[in-house]
């Protein structure tokens, strides 16, 4: 009887132990799956992420349109290395306002200059850029893409609303 009891105790102990191990394995597996899913979700988000709003990005350089144009006209390659793909905050006088299909393109610069800084605004900025006219002094934040005839900035937001 003692033997029997020991046996059944042993058996229930073994069952308890194997249940416990099973539980541990299950928890471990669930943990691994959770981590893998998290990695999967984060990677998926990164791959599909849209451009963040320029407003929230850290400004790399704050310059006047005049200074930017001068640097580009003196040494285009050096200026490109410095400014291309960077977030710039530009202060300048509005020379020209042009409407495109979805947004506005505003050229900043000096009235006598043949070249300017073209700022292509994000469509969400529509309401803010509505009232801008030549002669206004504005501050624009955007991404510099380089220079063709003018320095071209995209994804621009108006800073002094």
């Amino acid at each position: 009887m003692v033997i029997l009891k020991t046996d059944s105790v042993k058996r229930s102990l073994i069952r308890h132990q194997s249940n416990h191990v099973m539980k541990q394995k299950t928890i471990a597996l669930a943990g691994i799956l959770l981590v893998l899913s998290a990695i999967g979700i984060i990677s998926w988000n990164q791959l599909n992420k849209r451009h963040p709003s320029t407003e929230n990005l850290k400004t790399d350089y704050s310059v006047t349109a005049t200074t930017l144009l001068r640097e580009y006209s003196e040494q285009e390659a050096a200026a490109n290395k410095k400014y291309s793909d960077k977030i710039l905050e530009i202060d300048g006088e509005v020379l020209r306002v042009e409407a495109t299909d979805s947004t506005k393109k505003i050229t900043l610069g000096e009235w006598y200059s043949l070249t300017g800084v073209i700022c292509e605004f994000s469509p969400e900025q529509k309401e803010y850029v509505k009232k801008i006219e030549p002669g206004h002094h504005i501050r624009v934040k955007g991404v510099c893409t380089g220079m063709l005839m003018d320095v071209i900035m995209v994804r621009c937001v108006l800073m002094n609303k």
Partner: protein, 183 residues
Amino acid sequence: MKKIIAVAVSVFAITVSYAQERYFTKNGKVTFYSKTPMENIEARNSNAVSVLDKNTGQLEFSALARGFEFEKALMQEHFNENYIESDKFPKAVFKGKLSDVSKVDFAKDGKYNISVAGTLTIHGVTKDITAPGTITIEGTNILASANFSLVPEDFNISIPAIVREKIESNLRVEVLAKYQPMQ
């Protein structure tokens, strides 16, 4: 005195008429597309610069590599850092000519099928290219469009095997420009 005036007037007239032969835009649109079962890619540049000489048919078109906007930020980053290498090759340039410019009557509203031929330089590699297109005359404006396809590998753009299937072997390119007289 009369002679001087006559010469001055003719010089002035020639200068003015010459100037009116050139058309230009800073809002040229270049879009390229790729469609595979795995991924649809579309990138657009709305800041291309182009000059067109209506007498000779000569055409030049430039676009900044960094000016191509993709919906997905990471894809745009890969395009610039790994494929086009924008820091080394910031511009894509087309230099060429409308093959049959004489058949276009720029003075009258109308639509013409044309062909443009020249060289395209991307990623530091220059290739000959010919593309069909249309020219539409609307008053003083000239609307031009062209379509062609290109193979990234032709321009030494290497796309890693991992992503190669996500991109069409031939990318379709669409160019749109609304030219105005150069003043």
